[in-house]
Symmetry: C2
Subunit: 318 residues, 2 copies
Amino acid sequence: MSASVVLLAGGVGGARLAHGLQAHLGGALTVIVNTADDVERHGLLVSPDHDTVMYTLAGIDNREWGWGLAGETFAAAAMLERYGEESWFRLGDRDLATHIVRTARLRRGDRPTDIARDLQRALGVAAAILPMSDQPVRTEVRTDDGWLAFQDYFVRLHQEPAVREVRFVGIEDAQATPEVEAALEYTSLIVVAPSNPFVSVRPILAVAGIEAGVQTARSRGVPVVAVSGIVGGAALKGPADRMLVSLGSEASALGVARQYTGIADVFVLDRVDAELEAPIRALGMRTLVTDTIMIGDGGRQRLAGEILDAVRPRLSAS
Amino acid sequence: MSASVVLLAGGVGGARLAHGLQAHLGGALTVIVNTADDVERHGLLVSPDHDTVMYTLAGIDNREWGWGLAGETFAAAAMLERYGEESWFRLGDRDLATHIVRTARLRRGDRPTDIARDLQRALGVAAAILPMSDQPVRTEVRTDDGWLAFQDYFVRLHQEPAVREVRFVGIEDAQATPEVEAALEYTSLIVVAPSNPFVSVRPILAVAGIEAGVQTARSRGVPVVAVSGIVGGAALKGPADRMLVSLGSEASALGVARQYTGIADVFVLDRVDAELEAPIRALGMRTLVTDTIMIGDGGRQRLAGEILDAVRPRLSAS
């Protein structure tokens, strides 16, 4: 398949589906990645979702842990702790190199998109991973104790407080980059990864130009396929299930599908949730019921292949 | 001995004598350290002489290598190389933490002296290690191919080119800090470490207020003891022997002593150079002939003790 495909993605779940898609598409895959959970630690800019996708597409992700880099060590982190630095966001030694290079180039005035491209090329990534914007956006969540920076909630507080509201600080000034606009303009398929709808996918769509670009593509007949990150009522990773409930929806594939009403044309849900097919179709989406849990390279490629197969007639026509 | 002692020091040789002195003096030792070989790498400020002295005084220096940190690893450096960063100045993982904290605090506007103090305290250093100035100074050396930044010459070119001239960029704007001024004002003894006279000791003395502070102390009867870093005509470490020749002097303890005419009252030279005692005395210095090569903790403490003993009558009188 030579048609280009765009994936909207957050971290781990997005990275796995991206890896599966890259196996089919190579350089024809463009991942637009959430940067609203970026965080500055020890004076360095950390871009967790971008880097998770990058390491995974480079084949150097740590499969044992499910995050970080293969063979990662934490010698610098131990020394940072000795210096009294906060230790709740531990950065591995290899990972630190990424943040050091990124930060040095940002301080020289380089664009985040250009920096990301060079990091990816150095690691041999075939796909393009585009930050959703070159402007900084920072997710904050309101808990019963007030507003928290996202990583404070996510890492420091282990996602324990109930999230009552989500906002994206800086979103008014964030714009789709020329690269993101071009990817949406020339794509034949848009896939929404099984990432958290509220804090991974929503900030991407909230960037000026991105949801409009998705809708323009749809009006050209480009299908949008969204994949549920909730299986059997539970999030595969992270707090999406609890956020669905605390934000007034329900912890199910149907709850996820409701977040994508008016955006997704096809909704992919797991076999264990097959009974939700009818209510999801009632939202105006076609459905693909399959195994959505991606085990190993084979599982990633299989799910990616099934998604591509499901829309192949549309792709050929476009 | 309760009287306070000031050591003017560069890197490895200075660190060893500082360690010996700290064993005798504890917190009564103040090291004024050269910062003119500081260098920015990967957007981080590296302060090699300060950090060598700090790690040595904290007892976490790598005795096997003679530089860097015990148990050091290079995972981040390997990743930085993969990203195409220049690799001639490799930074260890633990060492990186030091530069990350320093750089983050500098960007927040903190004083180098305050940052250094906090790093030292976190590592449990008893002595005070003071940067010679809070203003940046950068040594450059003129070779037959023109002017080079110091670390370009020292690390990248392995000190191979002959040095024709030395300059300290920024020295006009560098001032002694209040901490350095106070240390010189209240000291009972000033020791010049067996460091390179041209690129370790000279930049310290060239900072506005420091040589004047040393001379004011001498006028109060405070002895200045300089230790030769040249033994048997060769530098214990680094290019001091070749620089003595290329800068028009001679590669000997006498050549070193000549650099300290008008500054040092006592000159410490090795037994193998005993025949140079008379010409050094002719420069107007008293001499202490002993074993100057510091082997292990014992060797460091012995040399430090002999220096303190040699001036003890003066110290008691002051």
